[in-house]
């Protein structure tokens, strides 16, 4: 089908975009790369009265290093981040996860900010953002605020942003040296929507797991950290048994989706298997290989 009728404007800078958004907050949608928005318009799932095209605001297209974090402009495209040496050096789990984000052509135009604001529960980036503890900077014509990942991702397809607020920057903490990480995904075909995506980060000090973070995304429910699995490993001596305990905790805790692509039991099984695999990879990267 074709998109419904809408008014269109392309403000020349961020200030003008925020003014336009504040003026038309109730009826307008921001257009960034359009890789989620335009398909939704094509099938007429949504019919905004106005699109405010921010896709050309180069002032929000950047990746810079701060002392302890990366600052990524909300309108930076996926492929710019995927191919960035700065991101590879400071947040390698993001690059690993990007292999699974849509496909190359969509990554050419899609933006990190647009992806996070859409908050599709099948998306990998909200999971990564939640795992690494990134924060989101939102601006409106009247104010600016920083939002934690936990607060930002409200529910599937919903964020904490007010109607007149725009996500302008994502602040990603550096993964410090010695951290292990892994991101794995199972889908029916490579590049398809995940059945289960899973990510983790951890360090190992004197054989003991520290700062363990484990996240699972089942494509229907919102991506989440699995506190029980994290607690099962935190402060324990790393071993095959400890990994097995964490995998069981994942299987016992998550509410897995049940649909025509995979039933709930299968998804739980996949989540546990990916947890075992990714923890082994992360431990090896943190300097301690664990035998099967």
């Amino acid at each position: 089908m074709k998109p419904p009728v809408f008014a269109y404007e392309r403000p020349p800078n961020l200030r003008a975009a925020l003014d336009a958004l504040s003026k038309h907050a109730s009826s307008a949608k921001l257009l960034a790369g359009g890789q989620s928005l335009i398909p939704l318009l094509n099938v007429r799932s949504i019919a905004p009265g106005r699109l405010i095209d921010v896709g050309r605001l180069t002032e929000l297209q950047y990746i810079t290093e701060d002392y302890s974090q990366l600052r990524i402009g909300a309108l930076t495209t996926h492929n710019s981040i995927f191919r960035s040496p700065i991101v590879a050096a400071n947040c390698p789990i993001m690059v690993e996860a990007y292999q699974h984000v849509a496909n190359h052509s969509i990554r050419n135009r899609g933006t990190l900010g647009g992806n996070l604001c859409h908050n599709d529960p099948g998306f990998e980036m909200p999971l990564v953002i939640a795992l690494v503890g990134a924060s989101m900077v939102a601006r409106s014509a009247r104010s600016s605020r920083t939002i934690t990942a936990k607060q930002f991702f409200k529910a599937p397809f919903a964020t904490d942003l007010a109607a007149d607020e725009m996500l302008v920057e994502v602040r990603v903490p550096r993964l410090s040296a010695g951290h292990g990480y892994s991101f794995l995904e199972v889908s029916q075909r490579f590049g398809d929507r995940a059945l289960i995506a899973a990510g983790c980060t951890l360090t190992i000090r004197y054989g003991t797991c520290r700062d363990v973070r484990i996240g699972i995304c089942d494509t229907i429910n919102m991506a989440l950290r699995v506190a029980t699995a994290e607690a099962a490993l935190e402060g324990t001596a790393i071993s095959a048994t400890a990994i097995e305990t964490a995998a069981e905790a994942v299987a016992d805790t998550i509410t897995a989706a049940d649909d025509l692509h995979a039933d709930e039991a299968y998804r739980r099984d996949v989540a546990a298997t990916l947890t075992r695999r990714m923890l082994r990879v992360a431990c090896a990267r943190a300097g301690q290989a664990i035998a099967e």
């Binding site: 009728v5 699109l51 969509i106």
Partner: protein, 162 residues
């Protein structure tokens, strides 16, 4: 009706049109410019048949508004070659039977045009990974991969011969 003016460079020529902002780039190219080589498959970003290059980057024209191409450079399959003068990439698809019904072919060609510009010597795995973007319903993937490998050879020879 709410309309606005756009200027889009398509295959080296500037086209000025007055359009509705809801017009998709795929429809702009086909209906306003009259270049029907760009095919429309799913119109929801799944199949890749409508892939063209926007400022040099492979782009799904059904997931792009024509207004987003205002002031920019579009390259379509018509920029590659002619029936009596195929480009090396098109010739390779012909030689290696990289198409059956041909519906997905323009999208495949433009997707691979971008790949070969950034990497003139991709290995088979790299080619397969990139072809993951687009769907061929005749399931001729093996021959498409071989076609791209053949194009790499032909273009290599062309570079040496000059």
């Amino acid at each position: 009706m709410y309309e606005l003016d756009v200027n889009v460079t398509v295959n080296g020529r500037i086209f000025k049109r007055r359009i509705q902002p809801r017009l998709l780039l795929s429809d702009f190219i086909r209906h306003e410019i009259g270049l029907t080589g760009t095919h429309v498959g799913c119109e929801s970003g799944v199949c890749g048949a409508c892939t063209l290059l926007l400022d040099g980057l492979a782009t799904r024209s059904c997931c792009t508004l024509a207004v987003q191409a205002d002031g920019r450079i579009v390259e379509t399959v018509e920029s590659l070659g002619r029936l009596n003068n195929l480009s090396p990439l098109q010739r390779a698809f012909w030689e290696k039977h990289g198409l059956q019904c041909g519906y997905c072919t323009p999208g495949m060609l433009m997707l691979i045009t971008e790949l070969l510009r950034e990497n003139p010597n991709p290995d088979r795995e790299t080619i397969r990974l990139r072809l993951n973007d687009n769907i061929c319903r005749c399931t001729g993937y093996e021959d498409i991969v071989s076609s791209v490998e053949r194009a790499v050879e032909l273009m290599g020879v062309e570079r040496v011969v000059g």
